[in-house]
Symmetry: C2
Subunit: 293 residues, 2 copies
């Protein structure tokens, strides 16, 4: 990264677009900006009011597509409902594919599936990075992904398949979900339901990756997640809220390895956003040099 800045006389640049004032989005965006600046990137926040029109938002994206300083553009989801039901698709499609650091553009999705170099979604990239750093073998193992979102489940399956796992994708229509998950050596939970994955979902010794980020405010649910006297239950009672994953804490007793929430996949997702921004910057510079020849 420092090498990029020294060679090209500017840092890699990331523009984050935030529409409205969703409190969770505010936190996510702040963390991304902070991380970007911490590694020496240009990290700009572009805000639009909740009442902005789709045309306003598309105009902003168009301006950022043309910006020389910005290599990556991230439009924070979810968008306000007032923008209409297909707003997210319109907006994500409008981002220049070479600046699509979320990996949402159809061409980038297709290149990922085809195993060609592409900007891939940050969360599944982060999961692969965690497995790799922990020395957990993927090739020849059975992997199970719960959830089939465009942002996590589907690209996660593609990345695991590329690395020679035998991959199963489960979802809300999967009968006997626990039994299917118990086949997995690597289980990735990305559904957004607090504590869904209980002990019965996990083969003893399996690696469990928890992508869920669920804010629990219901004391009855909190009580099913933590035993009486647990530090996090006490904290919940003080604050009235606790952040938990899709994996029930009891899974720690049977899993071979388990990522924590918070502090597991989340920070690695942000690190991958920076990696994508740097990759986009390098590719843009290379393309510019090719054009200049």
């Amino acid at each position: 990264m420092a090498a990029f800045t020294a060679r090209h006389h500017r840092p890699p640049g990331l523009a984050i677009v935030l529409v409205g004032e969703n409190p969770a989005s505010e936190v996510y965006v702040r963390n991304k900006l902070k991380s970007g600046r911490a590694v020496g990137f240009l990290a700009d926040l572009e805000r639009l009011p909740a009442a902005a029109s789709l045309a306003d938002l598309l105009g902003l994206v168009e301006r950022l597509n043309g910006s020389d300083q910005h290599d990556g553009i991230l439009v924070q989801a979810p968008l306000p409902n007032g923008l209409g039901p297909d707003a997210a698709t319109h907006v994500f499609d409008a981002i220049a594919p070479e600046k699509d650091v979320d990996g949402f553009a159809p061409g980038n999705v297709g290149r990922l599936v085809q195993g060609r170099p592409s900007l891939a979604p940050c969360t599944p990239l982060g999961v692969i990075e965690i497995l790799t750093r922990e020395g957990i073998a993927i090739a020849g193992r059975r992997a199970c992904v719960i959830g089939r979102s465009e942002i996590v489940g589907k690209p996660m399956a593609s990345l695991l398949l590329q690395r020679d796992a035998t991959v199963t994708i489960c979802h809300s229509k999967t009968p006997d979900l626990a039994a299917v998950c118990r086949e997995a050596d690597i289980l990735v939970a990305a559904v957004g339901r607090a504590g869904l994955v209980t002990r019965s979902f996990v083969k003893p010794g399996a690696t469990v990756v928890d992508v869920g980020m669920n804010t629990v405010t219901d004391p009855a649910i909190a009580a099913t997640l933590f035993p009486e006297g647990h530090a996090r239950l006490r904290l919940f009672r003080e604050r009235g809220t606790v952040l938990v994953g899709d994996v029930h804490p009891e899974v720690a007793e049977v899993a071979g390895a388990l990522t924590p929430v918070p502090g597991g996949v989340g920070p690695m997702t942000i690190a991958m956003l920076m990696m994508n921004t740097l990759r986009a910057a390098i590719a843009r510079v290379a393309a510019g040099q090719t054009r200049a020849r």
Copy 2:
């Protein structure tokens, strides 16, 4: 289709590009042309000699991209080795996405994954059509796809997932392939190995779809596929060759339903090519009318 021709004063048009003289490709191309003409399409064969350069081929594709009469372009694989190792990628990427009736363009692959309208590969579309016509439920069932090619395995998995199957993708690195396949209610074999899928791969009553097209010339292999006295073994001994799928004939005794080879997925693949060409024609006309307004 007749409605299209009547309304637009021209039939849907398909251009098939064949480079060199691969005997199997000659047969495939002839069948596609014949089917296209049988349903009243314009179906043109564009031939290049085996010694043609990549530039020649790209030039031909460029000309077909600009042709008003051709709605679909299919470049028959495999390309001659002389064109270089990445020729197929270059050529498939050069086809205009709206004429990409094979569904190979990254943007079309991405749109398929995202569940958006797109031109999808013909073979997996044909498999879905067969399952649908036979009244075989997909939602909530376990499906297993053997093979992870861009042309069959991966898009097959996407289409089954979209229809709410719980999908597992197996491949050459899957340990205990038979055991994994035995979990499936719907088993799709697309690997290109004669008779790989034996009785032990199949849960009793499962639906088995055989995408393989393997020409067997080795008498020892033929003898493992058919019992002594079987009509197809006699035919093999007369002709020295037999066309078989990836599924061993003994599977018929345990499967609930099994597609034949030849005569199963193959003809339906060609039918889906015609459907894609018609869809491309309708979309091109609609886009032209939008532009003209």
